[in-house]
Symmetry: C2
Subunit: 312 residues, 2 copies
Amino acid sequence: MAFDRLIENIVNTQNPSVVGLDPRLEYVPRFIVERRIEKHGRTLKAAAKAILDFNKAIIDEIHDICPAIKPQAAYYEMYGFEGVKTLYKTIQYAQEKGMFVITDGKRNDIGATMEAYAAAHLGFSEVGGEQLEAFGSDALTVNGYLGTDGISPLLSLCKAYDKGIFVLVKTSNKSSGELQDQKLESGKTVYAAMGDMCEKWGAEVMGRYGYSGVGAVVGATYPEQLEEMRKALPTTFFLVPGYGAQGGGAEGVSKGFDENGLGAIVNSSRGVMCAYKKEGCDEHDFAQAARREVIRMKEDIISFLPKIVLPE
Amino acid sequence: MAFDRLIENIVNTQNPSVVGLDPRLEYVPRFIVERRIEKHGRTLKAAAKAILDFNKAIIDEIHDICPAIKPQAAYYEMYGFEGVKTLYKTIQYAQEKGMFVITDGKRNDIGATMEAYAAAHLGFSEVGGEQLEAFGSDALTVNGYLGTDGISPLLSLCKAYDKGIFVLVKTSNKSSGELQDQKLESGKTVYAAMGDMCEKWGAEVMGRYGYSGVGAVVGATYPEQLEEMRKALPTTFFLVPGYGAQGGGAEGVSKGFDENGLGAIVNSSRGVMCAYKKEGCDEHDFAQAARREVIRMKEDIISFLPKIVLPE
């Protein structure tokens, strides 16, 4: 239920971090890209296949030490339907290896259309009486600007199929404050009001470990807001982007965790995917470099946390 | 530049409406679905192919009297990458027939990732030095919750490739007010603050006819807000969903238009796609029924407008 499987994966690996698979083609080692271009020409298909090769190799290396991946839909869509096929195959591959998959799509729409997104990413679509999985992810990031009827179609799916959503509350980017930090007449900020809605929505889909199936995205680049939200939203699990390349540090992100070392999962994308570039190692060693970075990041983050345990 | 091509299409057809191609499989006549299931089994591919057949037939019937289509990404994603392939083919087909295509994806993310969405839907992706179009739409709906750096990557593309975006301002759904109608300390509502940002962003991408490449989504179900926003946002073109099935009427949507009968385009999805069901005609006649509904809708809307002319 809710994020229980994610939480169990975190406890089993003692690692509250998630690897963002946001594979810009320039992150993929040249030997992989060239091999695929040789076979498929300079096509979207070649790019999509190269990215799948890259993702699989990284998943092979990290699945035993990392609880989850977070593929970012934009980087697959930019290679057209071939890219989107790679998104699907990446999700399936990671799940086969026991990983929890969060599709970062920030989807949002009104009720009936949100049902379609829910079916697409977390549920099933019916064709001639058959129930078919389109993407079959475990969780989806969503944008709550449209209010409750843009969220409720997801809640019933979260309940029925043991899935979760993360709602954007306070994003990691510089201009996130333009709207999100504005104060409402009530004195609350827009992001705090969105956080309150997460708690309310989540009450319908509570899990075993004190967290609901409605999580919140709160950026690592805003530790004060992370601390504020951790206190204000006791049943909301946090997805924390912005660690590493975007400037968020481990001490800052520790503000998003609870006394059991739970309550948040920290994302790193570029840091892991491009570890081989940073290390300056042979590019054929990219997946092992990714593993080394996952371990480094985990050690960095847990050094500021209590031991990670399931709540009693 | 900006929405100039859309505006010219509207003037040429004397029709300020757009057909939303949001093809739930149950909207597609049974004979089409059955034919595809016979060929491809009960698969996502069969659904995707049936939807493409359906879309093409409707486009064939309406392209000469309707300026634009608005495919809703969710209904394609729910059939997986095969569905997304149908989205691509629908976009290409409508453009070949001279229609302006608005992909309704409500995409949003931080800067670097928004660049990927921009490349995906409005621009080009590079593979081995080749610039390739992934979806190649003319405009994209986006969600501005993340602020300027989630929007600016789109502005440079709008300029470079003559494209546009529509930012969610006041959505047509019932619970849109939960966040959007809240008042900020300044006394403005959240939606009005978002509208102001549209004007600001749009200043960078002004078109020939007084409207910028940054439009706003304002629901037909809120005529008062349409009127308020039309006055407050003189250079922002409106995409108006919620006419018909959702309850918005022609008199109400007229509030979104200017003195030249321009400034807005009204969407109908179900009303057109399911016209054959409402009429009770033979389902083989679905595309002609769609055409009849496009004409009826156009007449309904323009009856409340001045003659549609390009500004002098």
